[in-house]
């Protein structure tokens, strides 16, 4: 070799020279096959885990049972029991030792933020968890509870952080079963107390920790924010209900997809208000865009509780005539990562977007930004006049690579900003099948970023496609921060509906930060319960605070809110009246409490571009009451059927004997014109749900204590 040193280098160079590119189709095929195997492996593992440990008693029993099952003489039993007790004692000590600071000691790292440390002794003195708002973050004893206004933000942080940092769990949970047992006695209590109303806090209890990262779950890794059902409120104590308008429909389409697959949707995926709002109702329409809302109110008998009534508030937004709608400056941000390749993802989106482009006007502008491993501009801002160019760009999109959502979002906003036009509606439409999964270094920054752009007048719409990986929670949150809407597209039809039919609604906001407040008259209403809107609650004082963000409503959209109310004279009051309750003095209130009003509706909104809100009000009185359910118009009856259906799917405890059969009966008689077939489809879904519930062998029940703490389970 030393004689001929050139030779070696030459050989290496010759060997290195060939570059052979692999075939992406084969790569996809290989990865698909591998993922299928992976799913099976995980399922197997989950089953094993479930079987492997049935409790301490079981272990002891196995220990004492001889193979021939004759038992062990008492003396021998003690021989076994003494070391066992010693072991338990050691474990107890270990549990104290492997406390939270053990993690810090051994790893030299701070306890990650998404793991809330709960030390057993402090847990026992935890006050009953009662978050100020149902959507509030989990109550963490060590940390001061952040100011309520920040709560929602914190939750997104947690969510984003969790994406950035893989959960600290399985390893630890295996290795520290002993530690978990050490805290063994208060284990059940721990779980109960550490998981307040909001089950974002759900997680494994590992030694002294509670891991609140959402456990991955198969099949399907969708994440849903899961707020508990709205509770029954007493008018005497809380006469006012305040919430943000919600025009999203993502929940209904997801539910539809699950039911069409023959499965009941996970209860947390059901947001009743979004199901109700999916359908169109013929509410009274407002006449001009300066007062963009008109309310249709009614009070009618409650289908699931004969002693209660439903108070129905239907709001219709001003329909901007198609000709006079402002120009649109739209940036499509397309996820083109490898997972978008199935027919119901990228190809479907491309198809729907092509017809969307057809429905636009010539002076609208479109650009396309893609993101996968890297983000790039697929189409620079192009006038819709050049349809062919746009369609060509669409057709050339292909899926491959991993996802880096944040970078893409930045590029998209930059593009929207560069072409910002005061006269236009400026909007980024993000289409994705999953989350921004390659990690977030600073979630605060991302959120701030979106909020900042919102201030500049750029809206954000999020379209979710596909199944198995959808991060519903993040989708919704980002849309809320970006003054936009989130929709789930389960089929080409739905994609066309959302993108095409609703061009005007989705494109032209007629009111921003729309909030609803209802004050009940204690003389007529004893108790009330808002159906749905769990994730949309606002505090009473938020209503008049223009800084508090709320829902945005587009042209012609309808929003429905339904309350279940218990009249003062009803036997059905769930909460006993107070013995020492002071009768209200009539002259104290603005209106005589014995008036014919049930409640007083207030809607606060900002006109687009304005930063101060306007208020509209309307009393809801006995004049709007329909006493006989048979006289109720089809729209209202249908909406209440959907409300019942949604609550059934959520395993609501408020429905008494009301079942899917009743939903079907109600819907059958309230189909109306149903020009788009949506109500007939609903009927099919209700039947599918009935069958699925029957097949499950039991009526829907709230999960019991023994259930593993997972976000939801697919049967």
């Amino acid at each position: 070799m030393s004689q001929e040193p050139m030779d070696e280098n030459k050989i290496k160079a010759a060997l290195r020279q060939q570059t052979v590119n692999h075939d992406p189709a084969k790569e996809d095929q290989a990865i698909k096959a591998a993922l299928m195997v992976y799913k099976k492996e995980i399922q197997k593992r989950n089953e094993k885990k479930r079987k492997s440990f049935r409790g301490f008693g079981d272990l002891l029993r196995q220990f004492f049972e001889t193979p021939n099952n004759q038992g062990v003489p008492m003396s021998k039993k003690w021989a076994f029991a003494v070391p066992t007790l010693a072991a338990v004692a050691v474990m107890l000590w270990a549990g104290a030792f492997f406390g939270p600071d053990f993690y810090v000691r051994t790893t030299g790292r701070e306890v990650p933020e998404n793991i809330h440390v709960v030390q057993p002794p402090e847990v026992t003195t935890l006050p009953p968890a009662a978050p100020a708002r149902p959507e509030a973050a989990p109550v963490v004893p060590q940390r001061p509870v952040p100011a309520p206004q920040k709560l929602a933000d914190n939750r997104v942080d947690a969510e984003l952080k969790q994406l950035a940092a893989p959960s600290f769990s399985s390893e630890a949970s295996k290795s520290s079963v002993g530690g978990a047992k050490a805290g063994g006695a208060p284990l059940a209590m721990l779980r109960e107390q550490a998981m307040p109303a909001d089950s974002m806090a759900i997680g494994k209890i590992v030694g002294g920790y509670i891991d609140i990262t959402i456990p991955p779950h198969f099949p399907g890794n969708e994440r849903f924010s899961n707020a508990t059902e709205q509770s029954v409120k007493q008018v005497a104590q809380e006469p006012v209900s305040t919430f943000s308008m919600d025009v999203d429909t993502a929940s209904y389409t997801f539910v539809r997809k699950m039911l069409n697959m023959g499965q009941l949707p996970p209860p947390d995926a059901v947001r009743v208000e979004e199901m109700i709002n999916y359908f169109t109702y013929k509410y009274k329409a407002p006449e001009n865009k300066d007062e963009p809302f008109a309310a249709t109110v009614a009070v009618y008998p409650c289908p699931w509780n004969s002693d209660a009534k439903l108070l129905h508030v239907g709001v219709k937004a001003y329909q901007v005539p198609a000709k006079s709608r402002p120009k649109a400056n739209i940036v499509f941000l397309m996820d083109v990562s490898g997972s978008m390749s199935p027919a119901n993802r990228l190809p479907m989106l491309k198809n729907a977007m092509a017809s969307f482009v057809d429905s636009l006007r010539d002076d609208d502008r479109i650009s396309i930004v893609t993101y996968a491993s890297q983000s790039g501009v697929a189409l620079d801002p192009t006038s819709v006049r050049e349809k062919d160019k746009i369609k060509q760009a669409l057709a050339s999109l292909g899926a491959g690579g991993s996802t880096a959502g944040g970078a893409g979002l930045r590029t998209a906003y930059e593009l929207a900003e560069r072409n910002f036009d005061k006269e236009s509606t400026n909007r980024v439409i993000l289409a994705t099948d999953g989350d921004f999964n390659v990690g977030v270094s600073d979630p605060n920054e991302l959120q701030k970023f979106i909020e900042e752009k919102r201030e500049k007048g750029i809206y954000l719409t999020i379209l979710g496609v596909g199944e198995g990986n959808l991060n519903d929670n993040l989708m919704q949150r980002l849309a809320q921060y970006g003054n936009g809407t989130a929709a789930y597209l389960d089929s080409l039809n739905e994609a066309r509906k959302v993108l095409g039919d609703q061009v005007d609604g989705a494109l032209v906001p007629v009111a921003n930060d729309a909030k609803v407040q209802i004050e009940f008259n204690p003389a007529r209403v004893a108790e009330y319960r808002l159906i749905g809107y769990e994730t949309r609650n606002l505090r009473r004082e938020d209503f008049n605070n223009d800084k508090v963000d709320a829902g945005d409503v587009g042209s012609g959209q309808t929003v429905t809110a339904i309350f279940e109310i218990t009249p003062t004279d009803s036997k059905a009051r769930q909460v006993d009246p107070l013995r020492y309750e002071q009768p209200k003095k009539a002259e104290d209130s603005a209106v005589k409490t014995d008036s014919k009003e049930y409640a007083f509706l207030k809607i606060r909104y900002k006109l687009p571009g304005s930063s101060t809100s306007k208020l509209m009000t309307q009393p809801i009185g006995t004049a709007q009451e329909v006493r006989d359910a048979k006289e109720l118009n089809a729209d209202l009856r249908f909406a209440s059927a959907v409300a019942g259906f949604g609550q059934l799917l959520r395993n609501s405890t408020m429905l008494k004997n009301f079942g899917y059969e009743d939903v079907i009966k109600m819907a059958e008689t309230s189909l109306g014109d149903d020009t788009n077939g949506a109500r007939h489809e609903f009927l099919t879904l209700a039947r599918a749900a009935k069958t699925a519930a029957e097949l499950r062998g039991m009526p829907p029940q709230p999960p019991t204590d023994s259930d593993p703490p997972v976000l939801y389970r697919v049967q």
């Binding site: 290195r16 570059t19 052979v20 990865i31 799913k39 893989p166």
Partner: protein
Amino acid sequence: MLIPATTAELVQAAQNGDERAVEILLRDFYPSLFNLALRLLAFNRAAAEDVAQETCIHIVKALVRYRGEASFKTWALRIAMNCARDYHRTNKKYALQEPLNENLSSAQNPAGEDLVFQRQIWREISVLPDKYREVCILLWAEGYTQAEAARILDCAEKTIEWRVQEIKKRLQKRLKGGRS
């Protein structure tokens, strides 16, 4: 801004059941797996694709057992190596008699002389005993370090060094012989 998760983070997520992480991991490493297989299987594209797929499946199955003792990449490549060996064993007909075909240097067309030399080298390598051939491909064709090769082949670094010497000796001898 978003930054890519590290391989270690992805692996951990994958072990915890995150399907998405698995996909990213596999997509990251597929080209390396394929390329190694391709060279081990004498540029038989179809065979290499089969082996790469087989490797992906083995990786997800073995993921639970991966404890982070080696870097994920060398761990994955070791699996690819074993899959390629298995493939050899079961498909003798793909034996490496004539490793050179159109696949070779289809991308960059070297000058005639270089091409002849390349073919010659590959032919020489293909007749080396497996243990030498593998080292040759890992170090020279794929450009891994000796330490990495040692981990992929599950042997000591010294062994690799020794084999390299042996390869050089043999090649020199044969190339000289060929020329004369």
